[in-house]
Symmetry: C2
């Protein structure tokens, strides 16, 4: 009686696996600044809970498997603001972006099939690859290039008979990179050439800075039937705990398959969908203040980090992460040391080691991901602590 190979092999979240050490540090009385996790401190819009309070049903019953019509309607209106026209049948509401990823993987790939993903990438793609028995084939991007996409020839090298899809994330977690329309068009042409699906994780679509705007793969012409978008309200409305996301595609066969996956788990959480409708109905102005705040945070974190000559990074263009190359040998040893030993006036920092964001063995060992989701005075203090720690760390 053995547990499955997938249960044995699935990666522990590099973002969450050091949580026990952080808790121990807190117990010792040390203040821990959390730069490891993308949990925004922005308040969830009050309308979210208000809508739920106004929920008038006596029975909290199953909703439709593919999500509440009202939520699809609200989403379609929201996307129309970005000149993206969606019909209800193009949307299946998922239990978080996480489930949307799992739906997309399962819809395009069978066990042993391959999906090409630029690395570093969001670690939970690894989790779902293990669960779905899909193989991730990485194309490495570099800190020196701001993690922008390499030449298409690098992608060409990775295509094989089992390749089913390319997965992009833009604005990118963990790098903050926003791919240009040109980069996406090139990838789109590549997907067409090799007859692949193009999956795009666009859950950070609103989070672009310096006046840059996000170009969605849903806007790529002639690729309508290849594109599958992973969406979520977690970051958009600072509602990570709601677990409301969506899969969006105009490929009817894909959506039919995903609708059946959705039936297997009955429905997404009803009350949180009700709350999400309220959030989607907010005027678009809502984002202005939020974006201004994040841009300020990025600028502060970036300027403190670049004051250290040993740190390599480009200014991130979106999301709320920085992937930085540090003058260290092993990010995990450093991260553990920060929680176990480092202490500056009873304070320390928690970071996410970079290696877990790579699939090529050994890559990213000298990198860490930092999330700028805490308020500015704390962020500033955390960044300065990190620099002090770097100077003190022997590794």
């Amino acid at each position: 009686m053995k547990i499955s190979a997938r249960a044995q092999s699935i990666q522990e979240s590099p973002i969450r696996k050091l949580t026990a050490l952080a808790n121990a540090a807190k117990k010792r009385g040390t203040t821990v600044y959390y730069l490891n996790i993308g949990q925004p401190d922005i308040h969830t819009p009050a309308v979210f809970l208000q809508k739920i309070i106004a929920y008038g049903e006596k029975v909290l019953s199953y909703g439709p498997s593919d999500g509440l019509e009202a939520l699809k309607e609200a989403m379609a209106k929201y996307f129309a603001f970005f000149n993206i026209t969606l019909e209800h049948k193009n949307i299946v509401i998922a239990t978080g972006g996480s489930e949307a990823i799992s739906f997309a993987f399962n819809a395009v790939a069978d066990p042993g099939d391959e999906i090409i993903i630029p690395e570093p990438f969001y670690t939970n793609y690894n989790g779902y690859a293990s669960l779905c028995n899909v193989k991730i084939v990485p194309v490495t991007t570099r800190a020196e290039d701001g993690f922008h996409l390499p030449d298409m020839s690098e992608f060409e090298k990775k295509v094989g008979p089992r390749t089913r899809a390319i997965l992009l994330c833009s604005p990118n977690n963990p790098t903050g990179t926003v791919y240009s329309a040109e980069e996406l068009k090139a990838i789109g042409a590549f997907a067409k050439k090799h007859d692949l699906f193009l999956i795009a994780d666009e859950v950070y679509k609103e989070f672009t800075y310096d006046g840059k705007t996000h170009f969605s793969v849903l806007q790529l012409l002639g690729l309508e039937d290849r594109v599958i978008v992973v969406d979520s309200i977690s970051k958009r409305y600072s509602a990570c705990g709601a677990r409301i996301g969506a899969v969006i595609s105009r490929n009817e066969e894909v959506m039919k398959g995903i609708a059946k996956f959705a039936q297997a788990r009955l429905c997404p959480p009803t009350l949180e969908q009700v709350g999400a409708v309220g959030a989607y109905e907010l005027p678009h102005d809502y984002f202005k203040e939020v974006m201004a705040e994040y841009q300020k945070r990025r600028d502060i974190l970036f300027s403190i980090l670049t004051s250290h000559p040993g740190i390599i990074l480009q200014k991130p263009e979106g999301a709320f992460y920085i992937m930085a190359k540090l003058p260290i040998r092993d990010g995990e040893t450093f991260a553990r040391w920060l929680l176990n030993e480092f202490n500056e006036k009873n304070e320390t920092v928690m970071i996410a080691p970079g290696e877990g964001f790579y699939s090529t063995p050994g890559r990213g060992k000298d990198e860490v991901r930092l999330a700028y989701v805490i308020e500015i005075p704390k962020l500033e203090r955390a960044a300065r602590l990190l620099l002090k720690a770097l100077d003190r760390f022997k590794g």
Copy 2:
């Protein structure tokens, strides 16, 4: 560019696939009585929403991957009432019983592995088997025997080198059968003999009638490390839309694997967990009235159905389903005809065709599942409509 084999092959829910026909009937002005779906009409306890309203956090943030401590605590107390001692580490909160099934399948089986399940069984096991690429090996139970377990020799025949687990559901969906302690002990010994996991879906544990009590596989001695229980609040507190369930096991390796699956999807819905804590804190008396109501409904449905000489069924002992063998050739044709053509004073009935609950081809074609989750006058009317329809139906 093709969708995956699993997306093509996954079964459409036999409970939900006729929904479009029901909607069309409603549009024509026909009243449809829904006996197809296990959506109780019992009010969700008011404390569920009250707890959510009292949720004081400004940010709806990620919770722990394995669930809120407060919910684990409330669950452990609840199980203690049944003399089942659970530690927090024995529980991972899941997004509905559905996710709990998927976690259990993925923890014990890899693609190509087999799980033995008595049929008819809850159709969504099929969905997850497709998604996880696990093969369901059925052991047929019969309406004539009240769907109780056949002799162990029937199970022996189904064990092969890829068999990893047996899955039981008691009280059973779709049959209403409650396995006796003796049946479960026999299956437990069988699991031990063949070194298999024993997965038990016990989401209907409270729903037993005529003074019968439910025996949990968690009470089987000497099987602590083999047993994995799928649990949910959906039926317990009439909160199907909440999507709060749990996996329970004392096998540490299993729970470690499942904790990593849980990390991959970040966390279960936060607000619905907060509500669930409130429900679990209700005094146990809460169930008395609910059970009395269900028992009355069962009695009425059973007595009307048995008044028809062509219907074969035993009195179900639990849950809120009846699996009845009807004098028809094909349950799906009958179910469609009910929605498309049958009309008695502008009323009709929706039922779940039996075939989808079987995995042996051709089995269950003359059976249907009926859920008694609507109030008594409606249930009575629906049952009488069904008898009228049977007499009128040519097939």
